[in-house]
Structure formats: C-alpha cells, structure tokens
C-alpha cells in the first residue's frame, strides 16, 4: 500500500509544535547566513570595542563599558528584528515561500509567530555572547537592571520586528535590503541607540526621544545603569509596536 493512502483524516501538529518548529527553522536559517551573523554579532561587538577605547561616552556613567553595553544590546535587537528579519521576509515573499507556507497547517498566523520566536531565540544568543564578551572587558551591570532590561529588549524586538515586517511586506526585496541596512546605520549612529541623545547635535535630540531606537537605547541604559524602568520610553516602544503591527497587518502583501 502506498504511504499516500491514509485511512485516517490528516491532522495538523499542535499549534505550539508548529510555531516552535518554524521558530527553530528560521533561527537556524538566520544563524547559518554569514551576512546575518556579521550584522547580528560581529558589528555590535566591533561597536562595543570601539566605544570602550574612545572617549565618546566619558562622564555618562560609572565607566565607558557600563554605558556602552545596554546600547549595544539594543543594537543587537535592531539588527536581528529589523534588518535581519526584514530582509529574510522580503526575499521569502519574492520567492513565494510565504504563500506556500500559508497553505500548510502553519498558516499566516503561525508563520508570523514563528518569525517573532526566531528573533527572540537569536536575541537570547546575542545577549549571551555580547554579555560574556562585555563582562570579560569589565562590564558590571546593576543586578536590579536585568529584569526590566530584558523585558524592554523583548519589547524593542517586537517593535522592530513589526517595523521590519512592514517594510518587507510593502516594497520589493531589494528596496527592503537597502532601507533596512541604511536605517540600521543611521539609527545606529544617530538614533540614540548606542550614543545617548545628550551626545547628539541639539537638533537631533528632540526627535531621537520619540524614535524606537532612542526609546530602546535610553530605557536600556536606565535599567542597566540605575536599575530603573523608564516608563515614558517603554510607552513609546509599545506605541511603535502597536502602530507598526497594525500597519503591517493592514498593508502587508503576501505575494
């Protein structure tokens, strides 16, 4: 008898299993991609070293590295959630991968849940690697900062995932590649993510507080330097997540 002939009606695997499998598959795909790894780990580590050997952050906190690391972790979230996931999704859309997977039991909802999960999984690895290197270089985070810090990092990842999917779902993949890489550089340098707003030109300061990059960078520094939760910045991140998520749901084109 052919294995195709099934006596019982086929069932989907459980929703949890489907989402976990997709998250694992996408995370492994991301980690196998050399360019993504450079963006996710190598560039943030280079930025970390750069900020510890230059005087940009002097006078902002207890030590250069203590000020630098929270921003570098925020940069990691932007790398993976916005640029990495955005580019991968843009090309998956081009090649019909999104359409095919949405005909399987995974469906559109499971596909998006899997993407969010893969971003969180890669982000965990980034926190471990960057955190370990930073501690070797003398990083001493405030113990009370871990809980709000990691929660904010997850919220920031959600905001940047929504923004990445919005770009990936509305323009051609080549444009997604250009936009997400350019914004990564601009927001990384001038968006208040690794360099605090106070050290930016006065004209930039007013805007930076309302950018997802600035809100995430600021609230991460508040957490790891002072053990505090910056409620205003968290609210701004939440608003970006809701607005970008709604816009992505409204305008995302699957084909």
């Amino acid at each position: 008898m052919s294995p195709a002939a099934t006596q019982q009606t086929q069932q989907p695997a459980s929703l949890l299993r489907r989402v976990l499998l997709q998250g694992k598959y996408e995370a492994l795909t991301m980690l196998r991609n050399g360019e993504q790894l450079i963006l996710a780990v190598v560039l943030p580590l280079l930025a970390l070293v750069g900020l510890t050997v230059t005087p940009f952050l002097d006078g902002m906190g207890s030590s250069r590295i203590n000020v630098a690391v929270p921003g570098i972790l925020a940069l990691c979230a932007m790398s993976t959630a916005f640029t990495g996931q955005g580019i991968a999704t843009g090309f998956d859309r081009r090649y019909g991968v999104l359409r095919f997977l949405s005909t399987t039991p995974l469906g559109r909802g499971g596909l998006i849940a899997g993407k969010v999960l893969s971003v969180l999984a890669v982000l965990c690895l980034q926190v471990v690697v960057v955190g370990a290197v930073a501690m070797a270089l003398g990083w001493k985070p405030v113990a009370a900062g871990w809980l709000p810090g990691l929660a904010l990092l997850a919220l920031g990842a959600a905001a940047f995932t929504a923004l990445g999917l919005l770009v990936a779902g509305t323009v051609r993949p080549e444009a997604t590649l250009a936009i997400t890489n350019l914004l990564w550089i601009l927001l990384g340098a001038m968006g208040g993510i690794v360099i605090p707003a106070e050290r930016l030109p006065a004209a930039a300061q007013a805007v930076v507080h309302f950018l997802p990059s600035g809100a995430l960078g600021e609230s991460m520094r508040a957490a790891f330097l002072g053990g505090a939760l910056n409620g205003g910045a968290a609210l701004i991140l939440l608003l970006w997540t809701v607005i970008a998520g709604a816009a992505a749901i409204r305008w995302f084109k699957w084909n």
């Binding site: 052919s2 294995p3 195709a4 009606t9 069932q11 019909g96 991968v97 039991p105």
Partner: protein, 323 residues
C-alpha cells in the same frame, strides 16, 4: 465517465475575482475571473486547461485560500477555504507555480521541517526516494535545476499525505524522465483515492493525465468533459463525424492526390514533400492510397496516423493558440 454526485473534494460555483483598482485602467477594477464553476472528485485528476492569463491560477488560489474571492461560492472538503483553519490546510496539498521554496534551504531539512507540521506525515525518506530527491537532498535549492525544484515542490505538497492535491503547471521545467516519474506518481495517487486538481496550458498533460477537463478562457468556462467527450463533442469545423483523424506522410513533392482520395477529406502539402490528409478516414482511404503508391512506385519516407487532439478542440473553441 459518470461524475459521481456525492461529496466532491472541491466544488466552485460562479467564482468571481476582481483585482485592482489598476492605474492602467484609470483606477477601475479588472475582472480576471468571471463566473468559473467546477467540480473535482476523489480518485480523479481534474484539469483546468487554458492559455496563459485565462484565470486558471487565480481560480486555484481562491480555492486554496491564498486569494480572497469577490463573488461565488467555494467548498473544499465541505469547508470554505477563505475562513477555514489548520484542520483543513492539513488535508490539502499545494504545489505553487513558482515553487515557493527558500533558495537557501536544502531539500532534506526543508522536507523534514514541513513534515513536522503534520500529525502523520508521509515518511520523508520514502517520499525522497520515490521522487529521486535523494540524489540532491543536500544541495541548496538555488543550485537545483528546474526539474529538481519541481520535484521538490511536489514532495513538499505531498508530505502531509493530502486528500486533495493542487498542482499549478506540474510539468513546467521537467525533463522527459522527471515528467514520466511525476506522471506515474500522480496516476498512482489518483488510484489511491486522492482528488487531484491541476492547471496546465499543455494539451499533452491534460490528454495523458486528466479524467475530466475544464477549458477556461477569458476567466470563464468554455467547455468541459472527459478528454474523449471533448474530442467527440467537437468533431471539427464541418465534417460532423465522430472520428476525425489526420494522416501525415512524406513523399516526393508535388503529387496530385485529388483523384486518389474522394471528396470529404482534405489534402494539403504545407511543406514541399510533407502531406497532411484530414477527415473521416476509413481503411478504404488507406488502401486506395497504398494502391496508388504501388502503381506510381512511391515509397513514403514516413507516415503517421493521428487521432484528433485536444489541441484541435481547444483551437476550435477559443480560436486561440494555447502554447
């Protein structure tokens, strides 16, 4: 063939699909499907045949839940695909026209991943062997040939052992060996009870595979039936006979066959030395022709007798070249 009335796997009634608004139409909507209806049964291959742009893929994508329809009804395994969930998707396999495979993936891990989405998948090793994928199971998708990609896409559609299988242009890019392999598998799956719905613009595919054919043109049904029914129902422009055939032979150019063959058959010499005889040919015609060749001392370099093809039917109905 009698179409059984009970529980078709797919029934579409009066499907309408508008796209747009399009700037090329001054912001108006374009109706790409206007009233397609069809029924597909278990254990049969149902083919949607039509030229590019006829609305075949759009019809299929509405049935798969990939596109929202603008009007009409669709029942897939008794459910509306526009609102159905994972339970329905688990019972339906889809092979898209563009494959839908990530270029960076490798075939075996990809199939293992998709298999994990089902409770009782087709064992991956068995399926990989059946479709000859084991020969390239660790090669990146972007380096596969068109035929290899097509077989992988078919495997991805079959891994969940679906009751209904959608194939959009299944023989595109297949070399003759792959084509035979894929066609044999489709026939076997049909015989095991799967309901298979495919689109094709290739007459040969429909003629070899399909139990029932819907000819789609300009977003509408224009004809339907088994291949035999279509061939008999549309017996050609003016003969009105049941078995129109074509005889093609090659012989010295410039022969006058008008006194050899009676009226009612049409003789032409489209290329010098290549003759085409069309009409209700009988053994008497062949005998008369052979006797005349004997008298004239002519031995044809080649000859072949062909039944009327589905392509002729299509051309009669739509007046369009399908290829």
């Amino acid at each position: 063939m009698v179409r059984s009335p009970q529980s078709p796997v797919l029934s579409i009634h009066g499907l309408i699909k508008d796209v747009g608004p399009l700037s090329s139409l001054d912001g108006k909507m374009l109706r790409v499907v206007s009233g397609v209806s069809l029924v597909a049964e278990r254990g049969q291959v149902t083919a949607l045949l039509g030229a590019n742009g006829a609305g075949k893929t759009t019809t299929l994508e509405c049935a798969q839940g990939l596109q929202k329809r603008s009007g009409g009804t669709i029942s897939l395994l008794g459910q509306d695909p526009a609102t159905a969930g994972a339970d329905l998707r688990a019972r339906v396999g889809v092979m898209l026209q563009d494959g839908g495979l990530p270029p960076s993936a490798r075939p075996l891990p990809l199939l293992r991943h998709i298999a994990g989405l089902y409770a009782r998948p087709w064992p991956v090793e068995d399926l990989v062997g059946r479709l000859g994928i084991d020969a390239f199971s660790r090669t990146g998708v972007r380096r596969l040939s068109g035929g290899q990609k097509q077989r992988l896409a078919l495997a991805a559609a079959l891994i969940g052992r679906p009751e209904v299988l959608f194939l959009d242009e299944p023989s595109a890019g297949l070399d003759p060996q792959s084509r035979q392999l894929v066609f044999d598998l489709i026939a076997e799956l049909r015989d095991s009870g799967m309901g298979i719905i495919l689109t094709t613009h290739l007459m040969d595919d429909a003629q070899r595979l399909a139990d029932y054919v819907y000819i789609i043109d300009g977003g509408r049904n224009v004809a339907e039936g088994t291949v035999q029914e279509l061939l008999q129902r549309n017996p050609g422009a003016d003969q009105g006979a049941e078995h129109v055939r074509t005889l093609v032979f090659e012989a010295p150019p410039g022969l006058d066959l008008s006194r050899v063959l009676p009226d009612g058959v049409d003789v032409s010499e489209p290329r010098a030395g290549s003759y085409t005889v069309t009409g209700t040919l009988t053994p008497g015609h062949l005998s008369a022709l052979a006797q005349w060749w004997d008298q004239q001392g002519i031995m044809p370099a080649s000859m072949s007798l062909q039944a009327r093809s589905l392509e002729d039917v299509f051309l009669d109905i739509s007046g369009k070249d399908i290829r």
